[in-house]
Amino acid sequence: MFIINCPFCGEREQSEFKAGGEAHIERPKQPTELSDDEWAEYLFMRKNIKGIQFERWNHIHGCRKWFNMVRDTSNDEIKAIYKMGEKPPVK
């Protein structure tokens, strides 16, 4: 059970949050112009990284805001948290 430092509400228990998978997978601006392969890449294909991963979380039982997290998925250590639209901290 993590402690997550919501960029808006501060440190809260993991129970208040929901994970949203890999971050920085931008929805294509022109989906109709993509091939089936390219669309599948966006829809389903994931890096699913073991190690430093950039991912999305939602403070669903708090301020309802989405934010990004850098987490080492091999040991669950949270390395950084930053708001949507902010640049990820350099690796």
């Binding site: 993590f2 993991q14 129970s15 998978g21 890999e22 829809l43 294909m45 699913n48 073991k50 669950d76």
Partner: protein, 360 residues
């Protein structure tokens, strides 16, 4: 095929094999899944004799419970489909559920009363360690090299074909690599520059202290989320759903364990004074449609058998058999043709969400 090596980072059976709740069933909804899992079930039925190793396959039946009207519809739909696919399946009303497993609380006054259920009598459990050891012994006798404590570091390619594996114990030259790395499938895929439609998440299970026989079947519930059986040692073996975040740490959050036992006590209030003896986690690789991948890839000679999510153990003999076929012939067997990676591009998914007891 000859000259086969199995490379394992840890020890055999130490991954999800040794961590799962050992449920075996084949009552899946879609034709493709039914074919796959029933193929496995048929092999299970003679596996101890085939391996000359008692895998303790115990056909004590698996019951799935319905707790709301949509559950009833879904389970009936599945029962009809199973029957037409030649898979034994019975729909039980509440009284029949109670009769088959008397310790379930079937009172109409509980929060989510049991409205019915399905039963597959040929389903059951097996001893997970014995399966791994029995297969290992069999493979060893046939000349397969089983190399433990040997971690794969890189997949070497020659253009679009594989040419070998770099491991902690040295280089292994080969033109065919079958990856069966469960939760770590994506890690291996990334070595070859592939992305898979997988997310690896923690799945937890627990056992109680051993007690004298109290439940002689396997009961799964989707809406009241938990499943339970009793091992030959007397432990209640309990499992439930995954966490929602990606993790390779083999731990999960306590909320999941608590929620699981919460469901257990709703259905079996008599277990309140039982005690949890041991709890552990594994890493499961989940596909968006809750069905596995047994498939060639865009790289020649590289094959993946993955995406089994929370339910790979039940398919073990079948998935191995079909994967071997796929590798040997460089073409899928008709039973695993539907489980190719390309389905995520074309959209022909095998969506088993409704049919698995675990909401992925």
């Amino acid at each position: 095929m000859k000259n086969i090596a199995v490379v394992e980072k840890g020890w055999i059976g130490g991954g999800n094999t040794g961590r799962n709740t050992t449920i075996i069933r084949s009552n899946y909804l879609w034709d493709a899944s039914a074919g796959l899992y029933n193929h496995a079930l048929k092999i299970w039925e003679g596996l101890s004799q085939e391996l000359n190793y008692n895998v303790m396959f115990s056909q004590r039946g698996v019951m799935n419970l319905a707790h709301n009207l949509q559950d009833v519809r879904d389970l009936k739909r599945r029962t009809h489909a199973n029957r037409l696919n030649g898979i034994d399946a019975e729909y039980l009303n509440t009284e029949e559920v109670k009769k088959f497993c008397p310790i379930i609380n079937t009172s109409p006054d509980i929060r989510y009363p049991v409205l019915g259920g399905t039963l597959q009598r040929r389903a059951g459990t097996a001893r997970h360690d014995a399966v791994a050891w029995g297969y290992a012994r069999g493979a060893d006798e046939m000349g397969v090299d089983i190399i433990q404590n040997c971690e794969v570091k890189a997949i070497k390619r020659n253009g679009d074909s594989v040419k070998g594996l770099e491991t902690t114990k040295g280089f292994i030259k080969t033109n065919k690599i079958g990856v069966v790395a469960a939760g770590h499938s994506s890690v291996i895929a990334n070595m070859a520059g592939l992305k898979l439609p997988l997310e690896s998440k923690p799945l937890q299970a627990l056992v109680s202290e051993p007690v004298k026989p109290i439940i002689d079947t396997v009961v799964m519930s989707n809406a009241v989320h938990a499943y339970v059986s009793q091992s030959d040692k007397g432990e209640l073996v309990i499992g439930a759903g995954t966490d929602d975040y990606i993790s390779y740490s083999q731990k999960g959050s306590h909320d999941i364990v608590e929620g699981t036992l919460n469901a257990i006590l709703e259905l079996y209030p008599i277990f309140s004074r039982m005690r949890m003896l041991r709890q552990w986690g594994g890493i499961v690789d989940i596909c968006p449609d809750a069905s596995p991948i047994i498939s060639k890839t865009s790289i020649k000679g590289l094959y993946f058998n993955c995406g089994w999510g929370t339910g790979g153990f039940k398919a073990t003999p079948g998935s191995g058999d079909l994967f071997a076929h796929t590798i040997a012939n460089d073409e899928p067997h008709e039973l695993n043709a539907a489980f190719n990676i390309n389905r995520f591009v074309s959209g022909d998914l095998v969506d088993e969400h409704g049919a698995a007891a675990v909401a992925h």
